[in-house]
Amino acid sequence: MIDKRLLEILVCPLTKGPLIFDQDRAELISISGRLAYPIRDNIPVMLEEEARALSEDEAEALRQQHQPA
């Protein structure tokens, strides 16, 4: 489990945009960077070369879901 105080200061290393914590997939998702950073053994892996690229559909769905009301 990643500590809340760490999550509060983590951003996408490429865009410095916010991250969405996906607990089920153990990923930190950057919509602005279109990347999902894995969390392995409770350690966030904030490296571009280890991240999963988001598909356009996936990014769009997340954008809808997390759009500020």
Binding site: I2, D3, R5, L6, I9, L10, V11, C12, P13, L14, K16, Y37, R40, D41, N42, I43, P44, V45, M46, L47, E48, E50
Partner: protein, 249 residues
């Protein structure tokens, strides 16, 4: 920047895009014996260098500290004790093998709670601006491909009033010491590497990368370029090692 651009890897020239991978291979190779090798290579003096960095960092209870290239976590462990449960220490390295080794070691030491971990590249830090009271990089900057990017990132994530410190091998200030040190690091070091870690090449890289690292004044200028203010440095052990310190105002 094009893919053809070259940078140094020890004394060799390698394409910029390869350097990070090659440095990773060195540390994958030495991770298991890293602590032992540090003690042997520096005759135990690295413990004094790190203690001096802790003093110069001036961290207090409740503060937030980012330890980059944290390796096996000597500095993080001490910072975690100082900041206490109301503070926060993030131990970070680009190398998963090194960070995992550090976590095992610190978990064994019972230092949990306010100590956190993140794999990160110092050139592109995954932290919001103005997040930390102190950032340190101990024996890591010389392995970073774009040192200017890393220094600018360190400055960015500091809060106003925060301090950045670089502990790194540097250039001995006196000629006799320089000669003895050259002899030691180019003959003794690779031999120790071969005997203890079965890996002479990695330790040859370490010796060469130290010589290629900017000298004291050059690194201070680089910190100023990166936006640090009141930059100064402290020579330790005749300049074999230096600690650079700068503030974000």
């Amino acid at each position: 920047m094009s893919d053809q651009d070259q940078t140094h890897f020890g004394y060799q020239q390698v394409p910029v895009r390869e350097k990070q991978e090659r440095v990773r291979a060195v540390f994958d190779s030495v991770a298991d014996r890293y602590d032992l090798m540090n003690d042997l290579m520096s005759l135990g003096i690295h413990r004094l260098w790190k203690r001096r960095l802790i003093e110069l960092a001036g961290v207090r209870r409740g503060q937030r500290v980012l330890d980059l290239a944290a390796g096996t976590g000597d500095l993080s462990a001490r910072f975690a004790e100082i900041v206490g449960p109301s503070g926060l220490v993030v131990m970070s390295d680009i190398n998963a093998a090194m960070l995992e080794r550090g976590r095992e070691r610190l978990d064994d030491a019972g230092l949990m709670g306010h100590l956190h971990y993140a794999l990160a590249n110092a050139e592109a830090l995954p932290f919001a601006s103005n997040s930390f009271d102190c950032v340190t990089i101990g024996f890591g900057l010389r392995n970073v491909t774009h040192k200017d990017w890393a220094l600018a990132e360190m400055q960015r994530i500091l809060k106003p009033g925060g301090r950045g410190l670089v502990l790194e091998f540097s250039h001995p200030t006196q000629a006799p010491l320089r000669k003895a040190y050259d002899l030691y690091s180019f003959s003794m070091l690779p031999m120790l590497g071969r005997l203890v870690a079965q890996d002479a090449d990695s330790y040859k890289y370490l010796a060469e990368s130290i010589r290629m690292h900017p000298d004291q004044d050059s690194l201070r200028d680089m910190m100023e370029q990166a936006g640090f203010e009141r930059c100064e440095y402290f020579n330790l052990t005749g300049g074999i090692v230096a600690i650079h310190r700068g503030c974000k105002l």
